[in-house]
Amino acid sequence: MATTALTPAASAYRSGLYEWLTTTDHKKIGILYVVNSFIFFTLAGLLAMGVRSELAFPGLQFVHDEGVYNQLFTMHGTVMIFLFIIPILTGFGNYVVPLQIGAPDMAFPRINALSFWLLPLAGILMFSGFVTGGAAAAGWTSYSPLAQDRPLGMQGSGEDLWIVGLTLIGTASILGAVNFLVTIFKMRAPGMTLFRMPILVWTVLVTSVLNLMATPVLTSALIMLFIDRNYGGHFFDPATGGNAILWQNVFWFYSHPAVYIMVLPAMGMISEILPVFSRKPLFGYKAFVFATAGIGALGFSVWAHHMFTTGAVYLPFFSLMTFLIAVPTGVKMFNWIFTLWRGKLTLSTPLLFALGFLSMFLIGGIDGAFSAAVPIDFALQDTYWIVAHLHYVLFGGSVFGVFAGVYYWFPKMTGRMLSEGLGKLQFVLMFVGFNLTFFPMHVLGLSGMPRRIADYASTAGWNELNLAASIGGFIIAASFLPFLVNVAVSLRGGRIAGDDPWEGNTLEWATTSPPPPYNFDHLPEIRSERPLFDLRHGRTHAAAVLPDPSPAPQPSH
């Protein structure tokens, strides 16, 4: 448990409720994001348990009204994407990025707070549909004309609440993106050129560009849908000149980049963890940066691969771009593996979750290669194969990455270590449960089980695999118990972490755990992407005093 002793021990002060509600400190806001996200993760997980309970056996056991079932999976998907994954990655970005670049906070702290508080508000709005006649029920993709269809599509005003909630969340994302970009471009410590930034900062940068450019298109789509539903608009109504496929185009133009928004920061997190626990630098740093940027750019050109079966898209272009995006993704995979290669690995919980990410994301990515081949997609689209694919990349990928990050940065955030024993127990249960739930879905999809059905024929041959998937779901749920116990116990009595419990490479480990409000008293020299590693091994020196402020240039205008 090395410490660099760069900062005097900052006195930890207990913050009261008022402080948490009004804070503009990026570290507290980051923690608020993480806690809020886990609350919504639990809610969306319960919705998933509802889905899996119903599907465990053929016949309708719990949900007698298919309309209710449609609400369950619609809200499960929506909440997981917009109120769990995207915000928790934003939260980690919020906490870690200013520390990793040696800044005292984000560029716009008050807007940072606003971006957070929009989220619980939006969540409450969307969930209130359940008690006001029906939540949104057209799938998280909300295809038109179903999204305007009453009463056979949905009941109540849940869809409108969904639209408004998502618009608020989108606004929060866009403001957050502006914040991250200005912070990263303008507030790096002296010596930290762009190519010395930690990979997590790079992935947050590219994610923020995606958020900035793609989310507003979703906002425009939501507004058009709201106008069609409530003000007699005709955007998506074919009978009066509108176009049902228009919704899909505008929606997916955002929602495809959104999947990279959901995975790139997680990739950044494991790109921090793998080097530390292998005791080697990330293999191919520059290639990794270009691959990330390439994925961001290419990600804007593939959206219609979600629409191959509509008969309304130019298939070869989107198929080619989809295949091409596998190349930078593969580059990253090799970069990660060759970081491990010939390293000296310590199988602590953060590394276990990072390894889980690598294996599961690989499967999810390979699934995608099948779907990129258009004729194969004709067979697999809208079946449980796609459910398997999306969960392998989003759960096996992003969620495992998130837990890697949790175990890695919990000591920095709280000053305490999480228990390794409970962490490993969570990992094993989650890994087994996850694969038991989602691997059979490949088979179910191949054999013909469509998505979004509340029930299936008992003669279709899907009974055993659905039961297995449901059992796996309960195992996943069980895996959170050791996690919750771990957090509760460690907050009070966990081993004291010190500044740098992992022998980290990056600047957040050059200050106390938790850091003082202003983050740093001193910064080491920054000469590579691993400033703390360099300091520890005598290649650079700690700064003895604050750098001399240069005189402000006289403005010439």
């Binding site: 799938g139 038109s144 008969g311 190349v327 290669w341 294996s359 067979a379 013909g448 469509p450």
Partner: protein, 378 residues
Amino acid sequence: MTSSTRTRPSNGAIVALLLLVLVVILLAVAVARGANLVKVAGDVVGSMFPPPAATAEAAEIRSLYDVVFVIAAAIFLLVEGLIIWSVVRYRRKPGDDVLPPQIHGNNVAEIAWTVIPTIIVAFLFYISWQTLNSVDAVSKTPDIYIRAVAGQFQWSFVYLADDGQTQEFTQFLPSGEAGGMVVPVGRKVQLSLESPDVIHAFYVPRFLFKRDVVPGQVNRFDFTLDPSEAGQTFRGQCAELCGIGHRTMTFDVHALTQADYDAWLKKQIEAAKATPSPGASAAPPAATLNLTAQNIKFSTATLDAPADKPFAIAFDNQDAGVTHDVAIQDSTGALIFNGTDVKGPGKATDNVQPLKAGTYTFICTFHPVQMTGQLTVK
């Protein structure tokens, strides 16, 4: 290399060993109970492939899938192998503080694993594009034209004449012995897809194929059933969420020999001409049955009618914006009466031809699962 001071295996190794023992025990128990492990292994591998292809197009898609699968499996084994090898082989021994070689990259390797995957994906794109052009081709001269109409929540199939326009016969029942889309093997069938309401999708797993049914747009595709499939029935289902009855939108595809199909179609067209249209009966109805539709439900689940006499059904549709109708099926499931479609709010009174005594089912052909009941004729 520092000498290890450990005197027993690591915790991780113990756990791995115990799991291995558990797996071996389970396998032994399974074999003892008569499980044919080779067959099971074959089934497991087989489940990673689509079901047997029933059409010529499906066979092409299956060939493409096989190629992609082999490449995918090879990549998976290679990469996963590298991960597992790294984890097993490159472990830090306790007390070892020496850094491993700090390798930042390797240009040759990085170029290789950029160029080679690019070549692989270019190849995959090429072969998939070739297959697509073949599978997706829409002929100007198919043998048979059928229009599949997907409404909430039932399929119907309209058989068209050789001009592709004239309606010859409508198959209202989507599945069962007396329903379903009946098609001949060995002939090119062109399906055009239409929807009056929301987006649906026509999906038959044995065709390895689906296509969306989009309101305001007519999608078309061709298929030719393999002759060996004559006599088979294939399940189909709507594969695009369409509302509260999505799970019930199933249909059957019945494959017949060409001779059987021609005979069947002739019979259907004649029966369609013979079915008395509502209101054609000259005699005044002996009774009027009242039926209301509200909230996608009939007002009653039991109706009675006199035998051997014409009777009327006064139907009141109170669901605004939703189309309902009243139809009657006999005990074999055949549709023997199909009333006027009424878009709510609206009313219609239809005369039904005399029926023999017995038990019949009445349904709304648009919502046959939610709206059904028993008609007792005596």
